[in-house]
Symmetry: C2
Subunit: 291 residues, 2 copies
């Protein structure tokens, strides 16, 4: 019996940027063929292929969309730029709804260039979430605030720890107007646990337990040395590095998370390899190091 037949891949999701050379039809075809349950998509390739067309393609193949990447970048101190970012995120909410994505991933943005006002940047993130959350709830979209590794604090995310993301999500949820009585409540604003971003955190186990039902996404890859010259592309294949992935997966499961486990690897050397070979390795390493 192959791994695809025994259901052990049901929760595995492949983020499309792990094998960016594949077109959307190739991605969907290969993932469905391998018995993988879901795919993580990015707005740009989805827009290029067509939103409705992508939604149909994925649904017809019997796959879920584990996440839509990504919204965010809410930290501009310029009111017009900030408003433009919020408007763009409202469109991303619509996209996520149309794709029936499990969540819209939010990378909140860094400290604006030339500024040292980290506190102000964080305030603007909270303000943007207050604008987005009602629209997201109306459309049935869940917003996943993703803490990024602190090495990205200046340029990509002023939210650096899981516990910090959780506080931000809780505040945004608390500010939502009450639900009509006939609607059941689940969190509209939650968090992403990306092993790469949080593995070093001495409080990560406690933060995962606290997050519980607010965990909307779980992503895996590995921390490999030496760091790539461009740290955006420094991620490694599961099992090649130093993250205790299985232990994190168990903690996330113990917190009640039953969703997809998404493999997201940005790595030029992996991007240069044959896609089918990469997918085979992803499956093997998922079974051997994560599950």
């Amino acid at each position: 019996m192959s791994s695809s037949e025994d259901g052990r891949l049901a929760r595995l999701s492949l983020n499309q940027r792990t094998i960016p050379r594949w077109t959307l039809p190739e991605l969907v075809d290969r993932c469905a063929g391998a018995g993988i349950g879901a795919v993580g998509l990015w707005r740009e390739p989805v827009a290029e292929y067509g939103l409705a067309r992508t939604a149909r393609l994925v649904r017809d193949a019997g796959l879920r969309v584990s996440s839509l990447c990504r919204g965010g970048f809410f930290t501009s101190a310029d009111p017009a730029e900030w408003k433009a970012a919020v408007d763009d995120n409202l469109r991303a909410v619509d996209d996520a709804a149309d794709l029936q994505a499990d969540c819209l991933m939010l990378v909140v943005g860094g400290v604006p260039a030339g500024s040292t006002d980290l506190v102000g940047a964080r305030t603007r993130v909270q303000e943007a979430l207050a604008e987005l959350a009602p629209a997201a709830r109306d459309r049935g979209v869940r917003l996943a605030v993703e803490p990024l590794h602190p090495m990205f604090c200046a340029d990509r995310s002023v939210i650096s720890t899981l516990r910090q993301a959780l506080r931000v999500a809780e505040l945004a949820e608390a500010d939502l107007p009450p639900l009509p009585e006939n609607r059941t409540a689940g969190p509209t604003v939650g968090v992403t646990v990306d092993a790469y971003h949080v593995w070093w955190d001495p409080d990560v186990a406690e933060a995962i337990a606290e997050a519980g039902p607010r965990i909307l996404s779980f992503q895996v890859c590995d921390w490999i040395l030496p760091l790539a010259a461009d740290v955006l592309l420094a991620r490694g294949m599961m099992g090649d590095g130093q993250i205790a992935l299985r232990s994190l997966r168990r903690a996330v499961d113990a917190a009640g998370y039953t969703g997809d486990i998404e493999v997201e690897i940005f790595n030029q050397e992996i991007w240069d390899r044959d896609g089918d070979a990469v997918l085979a390795t992803v499956v093997e390493r998922y079974l051997g190091h994560v599950l």
Copy 2:
């Protein structure tokens, strides 16, 4: 009145690796000439020049030694290697005592190569401190546990946040045998606040306040973008980046810290410049962005 004459440089310390091209006599001569109060030294150049000779050179120039860099690297899972590291650190304690250094800086070590056992690595750090702390107290040396930026967790420091360092230091202190009645107590094990390593932390202000008298060292430089290809050399000159240095300095002062403020910059471009020009910039930026 020049800045050196008005006492505003009294707390400024220059870490010698900021201008590594200078010999120890050059470093001491230039710093004393500029009215700087202290220097931060490294074991290797000190050993090369001679320990007793360095101690005399610095003392004769009327300078303090704000820190001796560095001990640590306690995370080997091999008992013989771990023991060798502890022994080397005992020698570093002696060196720090002979130099009358304000503290011995400890970079605790990363996750051993090929391992994912972050928890075990942290345990071995605590065990090493239990060995070192009695010797340090006997010799009047203070051990400064330095949390390193989480991007160094795998290779240099499994202690990543100030609060985590503080807990480790408190535990080590608690394990010390009681002092003889005629000895006054001050912390033997404390922490370093290096702006570069902690600025991103959402809890840093609270952690600094909690640390209070356990703050044994305060270091400054700046976070600049893009990150250098070798992240060890990514530090920038104060004022060139995105850290709110003055706000951190005020928090450290408010916590009761009255010690030196040490400038430590590893940056190839700065290393390539003329030393006197770098020192002039350090002084100017210290006055304009830190003090």
